[in-house]
Each structure stands twice: as C-alpha cells, then as structure tokens.
Amino acid sequence: MRKILFQTLARAPLTEPAPDPDDPELAGLAAEIKSAAQARLGRSLAIRHVDAGSCNACELEIHALSNAFYDIERFGLKFVASPRHADVLLVTGPVTRNMQEALRRTYDATPAPKWVVAAGACALDGGLYAGSYACLGGVAAAIPVDLHIRGCPPTPATFLKGLLALMTKSA
C-alpha cells in the first residue's frame, strides 16, 4: 500500500480543469436561479440523487464525477445521504409511476430553499418512455424543475457544467 501511495504522490494529479458552461440554454437557466442560490448557499451545494426509474446509465456517470479526473468535491459540490441534508435534488429517469410517491416525499423532506436538477433525456420529457402507462414522462410532471442537464446519459463533463452553472455562473 505504501508503494502505491508514494507513486501517487510523485505523479502529477489526474484532475482536470473545470469546464465552462458553454451551452447558452444551460447558462440562461442557471442565470435565472443563480443569484438566489448564491445568496443563500454561498459556493457550496449538497446534492441528493434520486433515481426515478432511470436505466442506470446516468448513475454510472454521476459516480464518475467523484473519480480523480473530475473530483467534484473540489468545487464544493457534495453528494449527501439524506434529502434533509440537501440543497439540490438531482433526479434521473422518466419518473415511473411506482417512484412518483417516493420522489414527492423526498422533495417534501428537502428543506427550502431547494433546487431540482433533472438529468438525462428521459428526465426532460420521458424521452423514449414518453407515453408509457408506467411513466409520468419527465421530472417536471412530479415536482418543479429548475434546471435540466441534457444527454443520454449526460457525460460527467456535462453534469459538471450544469452543476457549476447552478453555483457560479453570473448573469
């Protein structure tokens, strides 16, 4: 173990610089909610993830945010274990009817002020699953959404752009 630790110390870090939120739509949305978010929360966000019926691809990429390349915590972004500790709900999936109540309860358990970020193509409008008897068709059909991060799944860089836009992008 010592050898691995020393090798790690001797190498340059893998962590990459932060991406710019270059998507104009994303920047616009973020600008709307930015001032309120920054005034109340400073430069730190506690994120609670809720899988509302995703295929698990979004979760894999959310996990990747914590690896050495993206190192999300250096931006003050932190995944927390309970909605009661969260500022932001990061919701994936088309919102299955079987998850609707759990999502609503998670939202209600999150103290205000709070923001909801819907991530992935199916979280926007149901995507491929739109019209299914088993899905509501997007997060906005269940709880109010503040920001949407596109992609199927969004890459970690896209996730990072969206979340950073929520925190730091000024109008």
């Binding site: 173990m1 050898k3 691995i4 630790l5 893998l14 993830h49 809720v50 899988d51 509302a52 019926g53 995703s54 295929c55 698990n56 691809a57 979004c58 979760e59 894999l60 990429e61 959310i62 996990h63 990747a64 914590s66 690896n67 050495a68 390349f69 995944f79 274990a81 309970s82 909605p83 999936g93 088309p94 299955t96 009817r97 079987n98 998850m99 609707q100 109540e101 759990a102 999502l103 309860r105 998670t106 491929l128 699953y129 019209g131 299914s132 008897y133 088993a134 899905c135 199927c152 799944p153 890459t155």
Partner: protein, 504 residues
C-alpha cells in the same frame, strides 16, 4: 436422461424460431416440464407472456440446448411453474401483473411489478381500469421474541437504483431479508411492441445502462437470427471488443465499490481511474463512453480506426501495468479480507437451482458462460477461460471479477490481432412474413435472453428481454440470511443486480 429436444418431441406445433425451436405444448406437457425443472433436469432461462400465450425458455446445460415451450391461455390461466420450481415465482407474478394471466396453484399470489399506481391493470393484456388505492404490500412474516423490521428504500443513501429491502432482524442479525422491486418499471415491453427496429433497438440498449452493449448485441443477434442473416464479420468481432470493454469497465467499478463499502477508499480511487480510462477509450473509438447504440441490427454503427486500435492497445498496457498492484493490495490487506472472506456465502445448490449466471453463479461453482457454452461468434474462434470458484462469498465474487478482467484483456488482444476487415453493417428489411429469433448473450452480469418476433414488414411485434438479475436477486435474500445488517451493503454490491433490467 432425455435431452430437451426429446422432451419436447411430442409437442403439437413448431414455430420457425431461430436458432432454437419454439413449440406449442399442452397443459399436461407444460406441467411435466415444470416438474422436470423442479427435479433439476433443465434450467429455467425465461418465463414471459404475450396476449393469449405464456412462454417458457428452458436450458439443457448437459446437451447445450435451448428451447421455448408455449402454452395458449385463452381462459387467462396457466398451470403454475413456480409451484414446482421456485425460481419461476417472481416471473409468474410479473406475468399476472402485466397480462392478467393467473398461474394456477402458484405459491405466491401477491403482485410484483404492479404497485397499484398504473392507470390500468394488466396493461399488456385486458387493460382493465385500476381498482383504486391498493392494500399495503403484505411482507412475509418473521415472528419471534425481539424481532424488529428495518425498511430501506426505494430512495437510498447512495447513488443507486430504486428498490425496497425489508429486513427482519434480531439485534444485529438478519433473520429475513425480503426484496420488493418494480420501482424502475418503465413498461419497456409495451413500448417495444409495434416499434420500428431502430426505436426498438434504442429501447433494448437502455434496459440496463451498465449492460447497454450486451443488450444491443442480444437484441441485434435475435433480430438477425429471425431474419436469417448475419452481421459482417468485422462487426461481429467489434461487438465482442465492445462487450469485453464493457465487462472490464463494470468489473473495475464493482471491485472498487466493494472495497469502498469496506471503507477501503484507496482501491476504489484507483479502479475508478482505470474505469474512466476505459470509458474515455470507448468515447474516442466509438463516440460514446458507454458505447450505447453502437451495436445495432445488421452490424455496428461506428468503425474502429487504426488510431483507435492503437489507443486500445495502449489502454491494455496501462491496465496491465496498474491492475496487479491493486490486486496485490486487495489480497494483502487483512482488514479488507476480514470483511469479504466468508461474508454472504451462496451455496452451489441454490446457484444451480436458480440458473444463476455471471460472476455470482461462477463464484459459487456453477460453471456456465454463454460465450463458451453457446459459443456465438466470434467467441467460437477465441481462446479464453470462464473461471470458477467454490466459496461463493464476497471474496470469491471479487476474485471472479479480477480473473475475468484478465480473461477479457486476453480476449481483446486476440480480437485486435485477428480483426477482420470489410463492411460493418448490412441492410435490414422485413422477411415478408413473421419471423422469430432468440439470443443468449453473456453480459458482464450474466446471460441475457432476448426473444423477438418481427412482423412481415420487419417491425417488432413482440420482444422479451430477460435480465440475468431475475435469477440473482432472490439469491441475495438467501446469501444474507444470518449475516449482520452492516454486511448488507457489501453483499449487495458484490451481487450488483440490476433494478432497471429486472423491473423492465
């Protein structure tokens, strides 16, 4: 002992299903097959419905045969398979929820996927209006002095899929774990019925995101079998390349996450780097980090360039340079071994009974790998081993993954060395008549069964995709019995069953 073909020889009608037969059976023969499943003659490979019919896919491991038995259920009833063979119980409950067909004599009549939240009951069958507020789900009882229940989920503390676990515990000891799944049910089978091939392939690729390559291959191969055409050799070999990259990436993720659940973050950090390198290579070579929608009916949609090939060779060298030290660290850290050795042991008998595939089955001694046992191209031309261990504990499931990473690296070497040149995709068109096809593909998690019926125009009439998790989830309940509650996360991670693939 008769072979599966002999057992089905008396069946009335044969359907042109390829490459394995589908036969319509009588109620009596259906019951006989169910009993034979219970006696261990066959392995259950799938049980699903369609309007007016139920189908049962059987695997004859000794003779390496697969066959589908179909039973008409005009009166909305069929003899329960679960009454004789426990692994069928949840599949039957799903058929009852989706189609409204009752398994007669079934040991468990509770709903499974239907939580009473859909606008209709039997959405793929008679589509009856919902009954209103459902009764609370009746969890199985565990009785005794001092027993208490711990409900967990469907929203969990980590970044994981939704499911509910109900623990009955005596102090710290788990007396019973009962899973309640279905939260991720999206109605994929209804959406895919009637869909054009392109949309159907996209839905299939998203049954379980971590296995997107394997699902795309399974769906494509079933479609190609149905139409009696073959994807070009280069496409078939590149599919295998992507499948092995997917396997390696997932195994890295799992090995790290299991160690992380034992609070050993160092291995997690390093396997996370290796996983990210695989995904970046996939992005550079195929244009998508998870290689989603690259394999498609007729071939693949992105070719590997010489630069891409060089990139993958560099990736292999990098993994070979870094991984052995992590394996050594795992093997030599007593505090980590203390958590994994002997924890969550799964008995071989159960793995066999349930036809439990993938690293879970193989870590318990069930030697089955669809790549070897149903050697589909290009694995019939490749040299590899399907490692098997006997202990069946968390440690064995970690080691199985480690060994499989090595095997996948060897496979990728061979694929790159012998990669055929030529076309990567052929056109797909309807056959002018309905056609059926089956495929059994080894994903990283285990064998995925795909069955598809195409209409005369080539659109998908019906499609069923059976995730390996159907035969793994129930075994987690068995493996955790008698363990302490604190060992559940590490056990669960070592199984890493899919919610989305199971809930469909």
């Amino acid at each position: 002992m008769p072979s599966l073909t002999q057992a089905l020889a008396d069946a009335q009608g044969s359907h042109p299903s390829r490459p394995w037969p589908r036969r319509v059976v009588t109620r009596d023969l259906w019951r006989d097959l169910a009993r034979q499943l219970g006696d261990g003659l066959w392995t259950l490979a799938g049980l699903w419905g369609e309007p007016g019919m139920v189908h049962m896919a059987l695997l004859d491991a000794a003779n390496r045969e697969i066959a589908v038995a179909s039973l008409a259920c005009a009166d909305r009833k069929f003899p329960s398979v679960g009454a004789h063979h426990a692994p069928a119980i949840r599949l039957e409950r799903a058929i009852q929820d989706l189609f409204g067909y009752a398994p007669v004599g079934a040991p468990d009549s509770r709903p499974w996927l239907d939580h009473g939240k859909w606008p209709t009951r039997a959405p793929l069958g008679a589509r009856e209006p919902a009954l209103g507020a459902p009764a609370p789900y009746a969890f199985l009882a565990a009785e005794g002095e001092g027993l208490h229940q711990i409900p967990v989920g469907p929203v969990h503390a980590g970044i994981i899929e939704p499911g509910h676990f109900r623990f009955s515990a005596s102090g710290e000891t788990i007396v019973r774990l009962e899973e309640r799944l279905g939260y991720a049910h999206k109605g994929v089978e209804a959406l895919i019925a009637g869909a054009l091939l392109e949309r159907a392939a996209r839905l299939a690729a998203r049954v379980s995101g971590d296995s997107t390559v394997a699902y795309s291959i399974a769906f494509s191969q079933a479609v190609e079998s149905a139409l009696g055409l073959a994807a070009p050799p280069r496409a078939v070999w590149l599919r295998a390349l992507m499948a092995e990259l997917e396997r390696i990436a997932n195994h890295f993720g799992d090995i790290g996450a299991i160690c992380n659940d034992a609070s050993f973050a160092l291995i997690h950090a390093h396997t996370g780097v290796l996983r990210e390198r695989v995904l970046r290579a996939a992005q550079a070579c195929f244009g998508h980090r998870l290689m989603m929608d690259i394999a498609a009916p007729g071939g693949i949609c992105a070719d590997l360039t010489p630069a891409g090939e060089a990139l993958i060779r560099r990736l292999l060298a990098e993994i070979r340079a870094a991984f052995p030290a992590l394996v050594g660290l795992y093997d030599n850290t007593a505090s980590l071994q203390d958590r994994t050795v002997g924890t969550g042991a799964l008995a071989l008998e159960l793995a066999r009974q349930y036809g439990c595939g993938g690293f879970i089955g193989r870590a318990s001694g069930r030697s089955f790998d669809a790549r070897r046992d149903f050697a589909y191209a290009p694995y019939d031309e490749l040299t590899f081993e399907a490692p098997v261990l006997a202990e069946g504990d968390v440690n064995a499931r970690v080691w199985l993954r480690i060994r499989e990473v090595d095997e996948s690296l060897r496979l990728i070497d061979q694929i790159l060395d012998r990669l055929p040149s030529g076309e990567i995709r052929v056109g797909i068109a309807g056959a002018g008549e309905p056609r059926e096809g089956l495929a059994l593909i080894e994903g990283f998690r285990g064998d995925i069964l795909a069955w598809v019926r195409l209409g005369a125009d080539g659109a998908v009439e019906r499609c069923h995709l059976r995730d390996p998790s159907w035969f793994q989830w129930p075994l987690l309940e068995a493996a955790i019995e008698g363990a302490i509650v604190a060992d559940f996360p590490i056990c669960n991670k070592s199984f890493n069953c899919s919610h989305s693939g199971h809930d469909l």
